[in-house]
Symmetry: C2
DNA sequence: CCATTCATTGAATCTGTATTCAATATATCA
DNA sequence: TGATATATTGAATACAGATTCAATGAATGG
């Protein structure tokens, strides 16, 4: 293994573990020594790779940002399909690709007060609510999504998903809900 | 004003502000000095009334616990009614009685990892999920609530509500969703 | 009106963690 | 192989924030 490879491996190892701990225990509650210990490395080594705990967090958010921008846009025919597919993707990742799942949660958490401002701004630059609101509008025109302010609907939907995902990180033994249960928030139904 | 009254007033003042800050910024991110400053009192005074930051948090959780146990049970005819009324009550409190709203969020947050164990256990003693699951079962028998594991449904519902409420504390300018949007998670619909 | 008690402050102290650093081991490469 | 660079450690240090405390002011009660 070349030095470069080794370095990248360590960094990835650190980032994955930090991601896991940050989203389950919270940023402040996670000690740098927690991360180091659970990897079996010294605290000093962690600081060899990352300038600070905050820098580590920031690089996670940056990684999340890239993943978001990567334009592997989900193909969808009907507007509701977009939501169904996205949620299926996220929930499906829970087991096999926990980092995908965790990263989604991290990005939402990074938007909250208490997060260092520079990082918060980064996270806030992704406008998931606004993006989804557009799709919701289409769905409303087609009569497949319930009426109501599109942004509010979008916000309600994603906050629900967020709440469910955060809980799942804490109690993975409770199975994730069926996707239809959640998309029901948006779905139009006869009066 | 008697001394006793004054004391109770100060304690209440401190608890309300702490509640507000804890739920918006998080427990760890809230400095004791933040609370004191935003009340215009000295840090020392806060410690005159509360042994520690943790004790202050604990007394909030205990207050929430009492409120939960107070058997002002919501009267409801149909199972779905229970959820509708509860959410209407919570969402309705957002403006006039923010502490009711905040307290609900606090109690959920207190159940999470990272919270001192003694306090966490207190918060975990309220089994909202289990209680609601019973009502959900009734609704399923009556055919008004969708089929599926009652606990999972209950969990999904309350996690959604939690997610929405937490977001509302951060961005109160985004209006809370209509109650029906959320109860749609539970509601039975024709296939 | 004194004596006592409680409210309040601001400046020390204490503590838990993040961060730094000098020393050591291990790999790379000429 | 020797020289240089990188990985790794563990023990010091720095610091932010919680907590303590002695001193002061204001109210209460006899």
């Amino acid at each position: 293994m070349t030095r470069k490879e080794q370095k990248e491996m360590r960094q990835q190892q650190i980032m994955l573990k930090a991601l896991e701990l940050f989203v389950t225990k919270g940023f402040s509650e996670t000690k740098v020594s927690d991360i180091a210990e659970s990897l079996g490395i010294s605290v000093g080594l962690l600081f060899h790779y990352y300038e600070s705990k905050e820098a580590l967090y920031k690089s996670l958010v940056e990684m999340g940002l890239e993943a978001t921008k990567r334009p592997e846009k989900i193909g969808f025919d009907a507007p509701l399909d977009y939501f169904t597919k996205t949620i299926d993707g996220l929930f499906g990742a829970a087991k096999e690709q926990p980092w995908v799942f965790q990263m989604f949660v991290l990005m939402s958490q990074a938007r909250r007060p208490g997060i260092p401002d520079e990082i918060r701004q980064l996270a806030l630059s992704v406008d998931q609510i606004g993006f989804s609101a557009e799709i919701i509008k289409q769905g409303q025109e087609q009569g497949v999504i319930r009426s109501g302010d599109a942004r509010s609907l979008s916000s309600a939907f994603w906050c629900s998903v967020q709440g469910i995902m955060e809980q799942h990180l804490i109690t993975p033994e409770i199975p994730l809900p069926e996707t239809e249960w959640i998309t029901a928030i948006l779905k139009y139904t006869e009066v």
